[in-house]
Symmetry: C2
Subunit: 334 residues, 2 copies
DNA sequence: TTGAAAGCGTTACCAA
DNA sequence: TTGGTAACGCTTTCAA
């Protein structure tokens, strides 16, 4: 392996000079810099990450803890992951992927053995065991999601309460008086994933404010789940004309089941959905949506981690304002 | 930070002894081992990964290179990723995630800077730029997928040719004489992803052998894509009674579009699909499928990498035999 | 069965 | 603007 010493010898300088050329932490004469860079190139030198980490106590690695579930929407998850990795590279960071099957121990292990400089924790639940562990670790941590007690950990998420409110206002503005929420899978509520609760709360609040008749149903992403959910809604609210869908995985099935029941969108029922950015084109009808900006969230999570690593920023909670893009799936009530 | 020297002092032994207690690379008296382990526990010692990597030239990290596409089926991808991470942990390995937006340079960077011991490359294309790079790296590499020229790299994938054959035989055995293949997105063919071609070839070969009338259409995963694809099939083959679907992302839309056109499954048309393991339950009707065993493939990829790292195994190509599980979506031709 | 000590490749401090 | 040189924390060879 070609080391910094080889480069130094080749360029006729000391190894510390080479190091400084690389890091830019002190000024180097143009001539020296040129020679060093030439040697680096000629010898095909690459710094050794382990040696660097040892000497500088910096790994340039971020650990990303990912849930291991089937009831969560996989494309959304993947959106986070890719945007985190891509954003991290902009800061010359790499990403180590942890899954939750190791439990919170993974975070502890990685932090203790100095494999990563900061921790990103996805899909946090209200009472997530990874939270106390992260807090005990004195390693900068950013949570993607919003637990009840973030303590001094940073959080970033979509403002799901505001998102629900936008959906309800939109339907109310169009004259709908009977609306229903198709929520996430029951399992999501049960394990206390806060975005579900926050969305539901926003939904209920504004529905009441606007004097609407509103109900809500969780919805398993299977065909039966969607069918039962629609049955439930139509029993409780036979006059429903507006649907808010907060369940990306069930959306496709739901739309085709509506058609199956001869409920036309938007003539018979308006549909507004929370949906990943990219999916818009995949539906039979352009959907009015509140996009779930997984890219923005991932990028922001990385940026917040970087700020904390630079020591110039204390932990904070950032909730992104939702946008609502209107399309043909919502219309004035007939 | 508590180091190995601290442990050694606390236990009254040398630091090399502590190291050997940890690695098990030489025998230690029970008494010494006990004392050392007690000290480790008491002081909360954790080995420093960077120092280890520097001294041993082993990182215990695997790099996983992931595509960054929207036309690939995301749940399948995620299946690979999670199974790789989980399997890696069994060998005390962690996984560094690379995306293809950095291009093949990511692999080079990670290997050169000794951030990983081996490379796993997902979703390889026939003429993938990551292949020559990997070959030049003298770093054990396992490809997930099967390129035209694997050279001396290991490969693991489902035997897609055999998978197609099973599907066609199944339909032929049920008496279907006019069948069609709903293939992946055109983009997948265009960029030469070999599984698409291998599947198509298997399909065509057996269809001819069995004397069937067969056609095939690529299919974009959008609603329009599915509609156009079905239109195309019904024009070319109005008498089709059997459909082979090799397009996980389009499957849901396709089923609902069939229903929309009053084509009942399986009464009017039998459907057999290549589909991720877990999805089976999500369809309105239990589907006859050839499961895509992403878990098995991920596990196998890790195992092959481990064998190569142990130096006891030379590169090999492993194609997994497909299973076919029958369900209600395929039936005897009426 | 154990210890001493020489690396591993960088960084960063102290001098010049 | 540069060089010398201690760390950094661990593994492993050589000796005992």
């Amino acid at each position: 392996m070609v080391s910094i010493a080889d480069v130094a010898q080749d360029a006729g300088v000391s190894s510390s000079t080479v190091s400084y050329v690389l890091s830019g932490k002190r000024s180097i004469s143009p001539e020296t810099r040129r020679r060093v860079e030439a040697s680096i190139h000629r010898l095909g030198y690459h710094p050794h990450a382990g040696a660097r980490a040892l000497a500088s106590s910096r790994t340039n690695v971020l650990a990303l803890s990912m849930p291991l579930r089937t009831d969560i929407d996989v494309p959304v998850l993947m959106g986070f992951v890719t945007s985190v990795v891509t954003a991290a590279r902009k800061y010359d960071y790499d990403v180590l992927l942890l899954t939750n099957d190791e439990g919170p121990e993974g975070l502890r292990r990685v932090a203790n053995s100095a494999m990563a400089d900061a921790l990103l924790v996805m899909d946090v639940e209200v009472d997530d065991p990874r939270i106390p562990v992260s807090q005990s670790l004195s390693c900068p941590t950013v949570l993607i999601g919003l637990p009840d007690e973030p303590g001094d950990l940073s959080c970033v998420d979509l403002d799901f309460s505001a998102a629900a409110k936008r959906c309800v206002h939109h339907l109310a503005d169009l004259g709908h008086e009977h609306i229903a929420l198709v929520g996430p899978s029951p399992a999501v509520y049960e394990r206390g994933t806060s975005f579900a609760t926050r969305f539901l709360r926003g939904f209920t609040t504004v529905a009441r404010e606007r004097g609407l008749h509103a109900s809500s149903q969780p919805c398993a992403p299977s065909y039966e789940g969607v069918r039962d959910c629609l049955d439930g809604i139509l029993v409780e609210q036979p006059r429903v004309t507006g649907l808010v869908v907060h369940n990306e995985a069930a959306l496709g099935t739901l739309l085709s089941e509506l058609r199956n029941r001869d409920m036309r969108v938007p003539e018979d029922v308006s549909v507004v959905a929370v949906s990943p950015d990219e999916m818009a084109a995949n539906w039979p009808i352009p959907l009015t949506t509140v996009p779930l900006p997984s890219d923005d969230i991932g990028v922001l999570a990385v940026e917040m981690a970087m700020r904390e690593l630079e020591g110039v920023k204390s932990p904070e909670v950032r909730l992104l304002s939702p946008r609502l893009t209107t399309a043909r799936s919502t219309a004035q009530r007939h």
